[in-house]
């Protein structure tokens, strides 16, 4: 049960030895399992998208929906957000105080919000050119895939909000640290999914 090893493997989890660390380890591992299941979900939506790239039914196709500028900005924002989050984790790990952690967290949140706004503008543009999901199988799959990722980011933002409140109320206790660590895993995970989206949906779409 308590295998006495330092738990420094996860950033931000300077919990030392014993019960607390075991508890955190269990929770982080559990969350990891959840992420893997989520990965399968994303992977399947990718696969469905793959089977539907040609199902444009005469409607807008990859060339019409891809705006490389916007994709590049979204990519930058999400990567920046991910990076800011790792700084938040480090500041938590090295006990720079809760305000420092919150500062980096707010950075991560702002970038993610920026990402969502740009994505929203993309969606609006798609609607304007008639690239609505009701138009074709391809567009259904596109909206589902990009939208699912966007929903995850939005949920993440909500979670950051809740975490901020928790940090303000409880301070950086062991429990909170383990939660922030899990949030971090989630955050970086979404970045990985985005790598798949910008390469396989947008870049490959116009290749």
């Amino acid at each position: 049960m308590s295998n006495a090893k330092p738990m420094n493997a996860h950033p931000g989890m300077n919990l030392g030895y014993g019960e607390g660390a075991h508890d955190a380890e269990v929770k982080v591992f559990g969350f990891w399992v959840f992420l893997m299941s989520d990965l399968v979900t994303f992977g399947l939506v990718f696969a469905i998208f793959g089977t539907m790239v040609e199902a444009t039914a005469g409607g807008p196709g990859p060339r019409e929906v891809t705006n490389l500028h916007s994709v590049a900005i979204q990519t930058a924002l999400l990567l920046g957000s991910s990076f800011a989050f790792s700084w938040a984790s480090l500041s938590m790990k090295y006990h720079e105080g809760r305000w420092r952690t919150l500062f980096y967290l707010s950075f991560a949140a702002t970038s993610a919000l920026g990402f969502l706004i740009i994505e929203f503008l993309d969606f609006r543009h798609w609607i304007e050119i008639g690239a609505v999901p009701q138009r074709s199988g391809y567009l259904s799959a596109l909206w589902a895939l990009v939208g699912l990722h966007g929903l995850h980011v939005a949920a993440g933002l909500l979670w950051v909000g809740a975490m901020t409140a928790q940090i303000l109320i409880f301070g950086l206790t062991d429990d909170i640290k383990s939660r922030v660590t899990r949030l971090g895993l989630y955050w970086h995970f979404l970045d990985i999914v985005w790598v798949g989206i910008f390469s396989m949906v947008f870049l490959a779409g116009i290749a």
Binding site: K5, M7, N8, A9, H10, P11, N14, L15, G16, Y17, G18, E19, G20, A21, E25, F29, W32, V33, M36, L39, V40, G43, L44, F46, A47, I48, G50, T51, L68, A72, T75, L79, S82, F83, S86, W87, L90, K93, Y94, H95, L185, H188, F189, D191, I192, V195, G196, F198, S199, M200, L203, A204, I206, A207
Partner: protein, 111 residues
């Protein structure tokens, strides 16, 4: 049994700067790889037939970079379980996703 956190604190500053530069390396690599992906498609230097394979390779490399640096997957003992889980997931996802593409593309040809 609460661990005494305070005593463990600043004794690890060497580790800290190491970690910070590791993360920064991750950032730099990600940027480079992303730029490379975009360049593959828009620079006109890559022949068309090579674009998609190129994108796939770049995406995989970038994902590995993210996993290693931001998600801390490595071969050390405590993390082996995470790694196994990941590999197992990739195996299953591979079966499911490639199975799907295989079956569906075959059906497309036969209908």
């Amino acid at each position: 049994m609460k661990p005494n956190i305070k005593t463990m604190v600043r004794s690890v500053t060497g580790e800290e700067s190491e970690e910070r530069s590791f993360y920064s390396l991750g950032l730099v690599l990600s940027i480079l790889l992303t730029v490379a992906s975009f360049a593959t498609v828009i620079s006109g230097l890559v022949p068309r037939d090579w674009m998609i394979p190129g994108l796939i390779v770049l995406a995989i490399v970038q994902i590995v970079v993210h996993l290693r640096i931001f998600l801390h997957i490595d071969l050390s003992r405590q993390k082996r379980e995470d790694l196994l889980m990941l590999l197992f997931t990739v195996l299953l996802l591979g079966i499911m996703a490639f199975g799907t593409l295989w079956i569906m593309s075959n059906l497309a040809v036969r209908m």
